[in-house]
Each structure stands twice: as structure tokens, then as C-alpha cells.
Symmetry: C2
Subunit: 303 residues, 2 copies
């Protein structure tokens, strides 16, 4: 399914007031987008990290900053939760009682079943809940790392519960479309399974391989750095991503991640065996097949 409404061109902004809970890479990119395109009458952000909040104020990312979640969400028409997923339960408890009737709550977290589990119970009757996940990012983090164009030509997955008001889904979709994103509506469990493959496993593997190198004797480590252009450096970029965010992803998508690690390990063991026994045909066959998926990604303009 694809939601189809476009953002309001001219006239009233898309939202009266938007509150950002968390203002890191994704939150600050969205805040820049909202400011640049005038998508809200006013904006406010709060963050548990005082430095993030100070930087957000200094950079003028939102109209105002608020010291607490309760103050930030009061009167907001759209609340965007953009903290690490591990904080969601506390965020939910802090904001729930202060949400305005008719408001929409969304998020940008990389796992979606946990979003439903941890934020869902705190969303009162009469408030709309449209969890989301932009498939975009960089290895940088914090309010300074964001930029309004981060979401252009990328997918944003929305996972609204079945009974959600379609008008609320459309409004959240319109926000992302204003940033140049394409929208996909998905079941949270399916999202978590797909992302375990496309995102969580690649990050885990990158963290592992860079960790393996980090544990080498010092002189060998220096050479690994020196000659990293031969493949290793691409993994270090991925493995430089935000540690807390990624810790929370793995803790909150455990089953899907463990299942795909299992498949990966089987496949690696088979390759290891082919190398040990000198089975060149098996290696060449796999290495040839993997080229076709690269071609498909280039054709899908996601390269």
C-alpha cells in the first residue's frame, strides 16, 4: 500500500504546532525540513541530553525549546519521538497525560514492534498513533549532523495500527513527502523482519569486523588503518553509527536479528568450508550471483 496525499502547497501549514522529543541526526533533519518549508506554525523540541538541547537552541532548529517532555507536547498537533528506542517507555509515560486530544504521535525508530509495545499503551483515546521509520541516515549523530535533504528519494515506512484514522496517516505521510520521501505502509512485524536483513545485520556485521580489527595487536592495527582502502574502510563508516541507538535496535529486535544471524552464519560456514577445500566453482558461483542484486539496487535508484 502507498499513502497518496501531497503536502499542502501554499496556504496554511501542514501542522499548527510540532513537538520534537529528541533532536539528534533524524530529529534535527526533520526540524530543518519543517523550518525550511514552513510546515508548522510553531515548533518546539526537548532532549534528555542538555548539550543537544543547547545546540538545538543555538542552531535555531525549532521556534522554542522546552525543559521537559510534558511542556514540549502540551498543545502540539504532531509529536515526533526521535530518541533511541530504549527510551520510548519513559518518553511514553512522560508525554501520555499531556497529549492534546486529536494530536498525532509519530516516531522515527528503527524497530516498530517495540514502538507499538512501548509507546502504544501511553497513547490516550482520541490521540492518533502513526509509528514511522525513515530509511535514511548517516554515520554522524547529534543536532549538528542533520540536514533537510537527508530524506530525499528515500523510503519512509509507516506502521499505523489497523484502526488508525487514515487522515492522520495521510498527514504524517505528507510531512515525509515534503522531504522528498516515498511512503510504504507496513505491518510492524514485517518491518522488523525486513529491516533485520537490510539494516540490523549489516550494522552488526560491520561492528563485529571493526571490533575484530580493534582487538589486533597494535602494530597490525596501524597497518589495518593504513591499508583500509581495500574494503575495510567501508565497514568502519557503518560501524561509526550512534552506539546507544544501535544497542537499542538489537535489544528490541532480538528474534528477527538472531534468526538472520543464524542464516548468515550458516552461509559463512559454507563459504569457509569451500575455501578450506579449494572449491573454486562454489566461490565463483556465489560471487557471480551477488552481482545481480547490486544491479537491481542500481536500477531501483537506491545505490
Amino acid at each position: 500500500m502507498t499513502a497518496d496525499s501531497a503536502p499542502a502547497a501554499g496556504g496554511a501549514p501542514l501542522f499548527g504546532r510540532i513537538a520534537f522529543i529528541g533532536i539528534g541526526l533524524i530529529g534535527s533533519s526533520l526540524a530543518r525540513l519543517v523550518a525550511e518549508q514552513g510546515l508548522a506554525g510553531s515548533t518546539v523540541c526537548t532532549a534528555s541530553d542538555p548539550q543537544h538541547l543547547a545546540e538545538a537552541a543555538e542552531l535555531g532548529l525549532t521556534t522554542e525549546t522546552a525543559p521537559t517532555i510534558a511542556q514540549a507536547v502540551a498543545g502540539a498537533d504532531l509529536v515526533i519521538v526521535a530518541t533511541p528506542v530504549g527510551a520510548y517507555e519513559a518518553v511514553g509515560a512522560a508525554m501520555g497525560p499531556h497529549l492534546k486530544p486529536g494530536a498525532i504521535v509519530t516516531d522515527v525508530g528503527s524497530v516498530k514492534q517495540a514502538t507499538v509495545r512501548d509507546l502504544g499503551p501511553f497513547i490516550p483515546e482520541g490521540v492518533h498513533f502513526v509509528p514511522g521509520h525513515p530509511i535514511a541516515g548517516t554515520e554522524h549523530s547529534g543536532p549538528r549532523a542533520g540536514f533537510a535533504d537527508l530524506f530525499r528519494d528515500r523510503w519512509c515506512i509507516l506502521t499505523p495500527p489497523p484502526a488508525t484514522d487514515p487522515a492522520a496517516v495521510d498527514k504524517v505521510a505528507a510531512l515525509w513527502k515534503a522531504g522528498g520521501s516515498m511512503i510504504e505502509i507496513m505491518d510492524p512485524g514485517h518491518h522488523d523482519r525486513v529491516l533485520a536483513i537490510t539494516s540490523h545485520l549489516p550494522h552488526l556485521i560491520a561492528y563485529t569486523i571493526v571490533g575484530t580489527a580493534t582487538d589486533l595487536e597494535e602494530h597490525l592495527k596501524q597497518e589495518v588503518i593504513k591499508f583500509s582502502a581495500s574494503g575495510f574502510r567501508d565497514f568502519t563508516r557503518i560501524a561509526a553509527s550512534d552506539p546507544v541507538m544501535w544497542r537499542d535496535v538489537f535489544l528490541n529486535n532480538r528474534e528477527a536479528v538472531l534468526e538472520i544471524i543464524q542464516r548468515f552464519t550458516e552461509d559463512l560456514t559454507a563459504l569457509q568450508r569451500a575455501i578450506r577445500w579449494g572449491e573454486g566453482d562454489k566461490l565463483e558461483d556465489l560471487f557471480t550471483r551477488t552481482r545481480t542484486i547490486r544491479r537491481a539496487i542500481i536500477d531501483a535508484r537506491q545505490a
Copy 2:
């Protein structure tokens, strides 16, 4: 150790005649470099793939093309072996009897013990042997994929046997320096161990993870392609590298690759266990440590 001579500026070219055996990504990049900078009086190439040879002629990559290795190396002052490593023994047998006394033989293969093992026995007395490995490349292959600037600001590792004439090493080093490379002299065994970590393991892991995705049910595979921007696509780029070249790398650096796979698998198993048992501290600790190696690579200007 670092070799220190600079290429001849003006005056006679560095080499009278250069022969390229194999004219793929690396060979054709070097040929373009030699042509652009006038580093040879004349050049010739041969290739076992008739299409490569035809493309090389069409693109004018060398002064001449030759149908056989024997004809290509006859009269050459520098012979550059740029085929997959698996072909080295046959290449050595074909060129050995036709090498000019005083000529230099070098190569660009990604493993260096196998180079010494497979080419070494065919190098006659009075011919210099300076194996080399430029730490540069792209996921593209073939004569059309090359470009003269491929080696700029990258390292080139040379692994001459201990008794090699330093003047021959300096001449090969001068060729790479003309392309903007930095030179490192290394023992072949040490080279293979370092590259197993920085290059061979990353490629194997990328091939594995992309292979794991290739084996998914069709509808899931389509979604993996669609949402690949979340990490997966970086692996597909690496896993699009030349299949035959990489088959030969793994078959010819077996011990070092198997050893580093073992370390990697242990580390992955530890992470898998931490995820299963919800040990967030262990995850966050590793994910924080891996950031520092990225910083070191950026500082070394190899990012």
C-alpha cells in the same frame, strides 16, 4: 621501509617498453597512466579474453596489442602481470623463456605469497622480480572500467625477494609514484596477513551477506532491494567485485583468511549471545570502541 626515488621528470621515459599481461580494471588504469604521462617509449598488451583485447585496441590503451604472452613480453623492459592470481602459473610458464635479460617483472595481485610461489620459478637469472599490490580498486571490472587516477593517494605495497636489485625496486616504485601512490615495502607473508583482515575478510563477509539475501523468498528479496539504503547497499557494492579475481584471492590466501574468519566468527558469536541475553552494556561498549578506528582512518586520509 619506503622506497624513495621519484619518476624521471622530462627527458627519457621511465621504461623503454612496457608489456601488460591482462588489461582489466587495474591493468587498464595503469596503461592509461603510462600513456598520459609518457612513462614508456612503447606499450603492448595481451589478454586471454579476446573481448578485453579488442576493447583495449579500440580504446587505444597501449601502442600495440599482441595475440600471445610470448609475443607481448619479447623486448619488454617492464612486464606487468595483471591477470587473476589463479592464472599466474600459466602466465609464468608462457612468458619465462621470452623475457629479455635485465627486464623487470611485476604484478598487481591481491595475494603475494602465491605470486612468489607461482610466478617466481619462471623468472630467469638476470631478470628482476618485484611483486606489487596497489591498494586501490572499484567494484567495476574490465578495460573500460579503468582510469588513470585510480591510484592517487593510495598505498602500493611491493614485496621484492630479499636479494632483489634495489634499482629495479626503485623503478617499479617510480611508476606507482607517478600515479600518486605511496610505496610500502613488505614481506609477502606479512602482506597476506594484513590484507586478509583489511580486504579479504570484508569482501567475504559482503559476499556472504548479499548471498544470504539472494536466497530469500522473492517478495522479501524485492523489499531488501527497495530498503537497501539502510546499510545493505554498502555491502552490495563490495559484493559486485570481479568474481574470478576474488575466487582466486580466497583460494590463494587460504590460511590467513581461514584464521581471520575464525576470529570474526568468535566475535560474532559473542555479540549474538549478548543480544540473546539482553546485555546492552557489552553492545554499547563495542559500538563505542569501533568509532575510534573510523576516526583514525579519517585522520590517515584513507576515508
